[in-house]
Symmetry: C2
Subunit: 155 residues, 2 copies
């Protein structure tokens, strides 16, 4: 059990590293990573500004690329890590891919859809076999988000 | 006013044509089209099977391509037509792109997120200036969906 939690910390730290990459590129600092069979398949970050596309959230990009790499339409045995609680769009994509476990860092009170707002993965018609864990390395995940929004407001 | 409604029928019929294209390719028959400045910018259909990606819904593909064609990150003055009530993923994408009007045909009682389920565009933090109209050419939109599911169940 301890070992399992330890792995989660390692993967979440890699996810946070991705959010720092986004921060340095002046993107909203959110990172995501997908783990399958205890191996990182893909990690990435938010690219809404560089791609001029408000849908290019870290989670969505990672899911899309993972499905291409694994050549699977469902990612049943996968774990998705995200530095921020996913929005409704990403939450439903997680549902469509039938992800086994979602682990996120910071809570998103305004736009989150896991433990806030519409709580999409708790609806009766969503995929039943998903476990969601929020708040892993929460403070570290929030740090760069807070810094980013301070910086944006200053401009 | 009459003229406006007439246009909506024309565009919805083009959208339904796209759902028929999907039907012929054994995809779930859902079509979408984006209109900007009274011109169709892009129309398309569901490609989840051919692209091996459960996220490749008609609406999401059309929004992504429209943003690329119009080189805009927001599609404020656009109208999105869909033959089926959008799911939570597509509904939030519509919200992110700040679409002005969404017109859909058939209602999706099980997985819709506009007039059913989480009703995402009615949440307090969603984009305020969107108008949604459901049920335009509803029976025609439903027809191919019903036929598709009959066909799938037979296999």
């Amino acid at each position: 059990m301890l070992k399992k939690i330890y792995f989660d910390y390692v993967y979440m730290n890699l996810t946070i590293d991705q959010s720092i990459v986004a921060y340095k590129k002046n993107e909203v600092p959110i990172g995501a990573a997908l783990v399958y069979n205890k191996k990182i398949i893909i990690k990435g970050h938010n690219k809404t500004i560089v791609n001029n596309n408000p849908m290019d959230h870290a989670e969505l990009l990672v899911l899309k690329k993972a499905a291409r790499i694994l050549t699977k339409i469902q990612l049943r045995e996968s774990v998705l890590y995200s530095s921020l609680e996913p929005c409704p769009m990403c939450s439903h994509a997680i549902n469509l891919f039938k992800i086994r476990k979602l682990i996120f860092g910071a809570y998103n009170i305004k736009s989150g859809a896991i433990d806030h707002g519409p709580r999409l993965l708790q609806l009766s018609n969503s995929y039943k076999n998903i476990t969601t864990i929020g708040g892993l390395l929460e403070v570290k995940c929030e740090k760069f988000l807070k810094n980013y929004f301070k910086k944006v407001r200053r401009i």
